[in-house]
Symmetry: C2
Subunit: 121 residues, 2 copies
């Protein structure tokens, strides 16, 4: 597969709300996930657990995914722009979170994800 | 100024359509601009010229800018998501272009911009 094929499959699955299918089938076992504060989580299991924990204290209404986007200077990467429509259980207030994700692909698997956003997510 | 201050000023000016003000006042003289195909343009003058050429063969209806977004692992960078509402004069067909921009800041000036998108822009 090409980077473009992997990236298109990623966006297709996310657009269907199948983010956990992405993590289970497209992540390399030693994936590194970097949150907005710079904190790294290493390994497919811990990264899935991080997302499960994130979802657990929210009502998730939906998401949009724009992309994938490419740049020839970094030919193993693609970028996307997410909006996440959620209600944190702690506040009960529905909000839209926005973030840019930059994904690195090697041997058809995602090896690194880096999220850019503002404030707590 | 902090990265956050520079990034906020950038988004504020772009949201007002003042992209050329950004280039004239916030770009470092030796800025490197990397287009989607990986091609680099070096220097404030050439980068401004590149944008002037880009605008010249389009009718520009407006833009939106989401962000700025941050990641602690790359503390000298911010990311934004643009939508550009344009009609290329060659086709006469109005389209919305999307792109992610990743900007590097040093000493309060933008030293590098890298654009991620899909297809011709």
């Amino acid at each position: 597969m090409s980077l473009r094929t992997v990236a298109s499959k990623f966006v297709e699955l996310c657009s269907q709300g199948k983010n956990f299918d992405v993590m289970r089938t497209m992540y390399e076992p030693n994936i590194v996930s970097v949150e907005g504060d710079g904190k790294e989580t290493v390994g497919q299991g811990p990264v899935i657990k991080k997302s499960e924990d994130w979802v657990a204290d929210k009502t998730f209404h939906g998401e949009t995914v724009a992309g994938p986007f490419f740049n020839g200077a970094t030919p193993d990467q693609f970028a996307v722009y997410f909006t996440l429509d959620v209600t944190p259980k702690s506040t009960g207030r529905r909000i839209t979170l926005q973030e840019v994700g930059v994904y690195t692909v090697k041997n058809d698997k995602i090896t690194r994800e880096q999220f850019f956003y503002d404030g707590d997510h």
